[in-house]
C-alpha cells in the first residue's frame, strides 16, 4: 500500500517524529511504499541542518537522512519553513523545500495519509 506521512511537530520537544520514524521503518519492512513525508507547522524544524543533539542521543537528522537514502521523499513546506528560518541556507537539502501543493499531491497519490 502507498502511505503518505504528514509531520506537524518539531523534533525533541514532541514525540511525533520518533513515532513517525518507527512507523515508516515498520511500514517499509512490511513491504509498503512511503510516498513521502511532508513537514508542516513546527515539523519543518525536523529538517533544519544545524540541529546538533548530544552524541549519546538519537540523531533525528541522521535518522531522516537514512530514510531519504532508502528512497523516501522528504518535503519541507516552503511557507512554514521561511516563517521559521528553515530556508535554502539552513535546510538539510535544498531540493526538499517545496510548496503545499505537494501535501495535496501526497493525499492524491497515497492510499492512506497518516498525521504525526
Amino acid at each position: 500500500m502507498k502511505l503518505g506521512v504528514l509531520v506537524k511537530e518539531g523534533p525533541y520537544m514532541h514525540q511525533a517524529i520518533d513515532t513517525a520514524y518507527n512507523f515508516i521503518v515498520a511500514a517499509m519492512e512490511s513491504g509498503h511504499e512511503i510516498t513521502g513525508i511532508f513537514f508542516y507547522n513546527d515539523g519543518v524544524y525536523n529538517r533544519c541542518s544545524t540541529l546538533e543533539p548530544p552524541r549519546d542521543e538519537r540523531n533525528i537528522t541522521k535518522l531522516l537522512s537514512e530514510l531519504e537514502l532508502k528512497g523516501v521523499r522528504l518535503i519541507v513546506c516552503v511557507a512554514a519553513g521561511k516563517r521559521r528560518g528553515v530556508v535554502n541556507q539552513t535546510v538539510c537539502k535544498v531540493e526538499e523545500i517545496s510548496g503545499l501543493g505537494q501535501l495535496l499531491e501526497l493525499c492524491i497519490t497515497s492510499d492512506r495519509m497518516v498525521t504525526f
Binding site: 502511505l3 513515532t19 518507527n22 509498503h32 492512506r112 497518516v114
Partner: protein, 100 residues
C-alpha cells in the same frame, strides 16, 4: 476509521474529541505516545475504555507503554498491545485520523 489518540486524556481534549467520533461500526482506536495513559487501570478513563472495548477494537502501542513503565497487566483488559508493524496493519485496514 482508525482513531489515533496521541495526547494524555488528563491533559488534552484530544481523547474526549476522539471518543465523540468513534462510531458503532468498524471504527478502531489506537492509543499512542501520551495517549496510552488513558489505558491505565484504576484511572479516570478505565470505565469509558472498558465500555469502548465492548463495541470497538482498542489498541495501544507497546513501545509507548513500556517506555512509560506501564506493564501489560496494568492496562484495561481487552485493550490489545501492538508494535509498530501492528500500527502499520491498522492503518492499512482503516483510514486514519489523528487526534493530538
Amino acid at each position: 476509521m482508525l482513531h489515533i489518540i496521541k495526547k494524555s486524556p488528563y491533559e488534552s481534549s484530544a481523547f474526549n474529541d476522539a471518543v465523540n467520533y468513534i462510531g458503532q461500526n468498524d471504527d478502531v482506536v489506537l492509543l499512542a505516545e501520551d495517549g496510552v495513559y488513558a489505558a491505565k487501570k484504576g484511572g479516570k478513563f478505565e470505565e469509558l475504555l472498558r465500555n469502548l472495548t465492548k463495541k470497538n477494537s482498542v489498541y495501544c502501542l507497546m513501545a509507548d507503554i513500556k517506555a512509560r513503565g506501564i506493564q501489560e497487566n496494568e492496562i484495561v483488559e481487552n485493550i490489545k498491545v501492538i508494535d509498530y508493524k501492528g500500527f502499520v496493519e491498522k492503518v492499512v485496514e482503516h483510514n486514519p485520523m489523528t487526534w493530538s
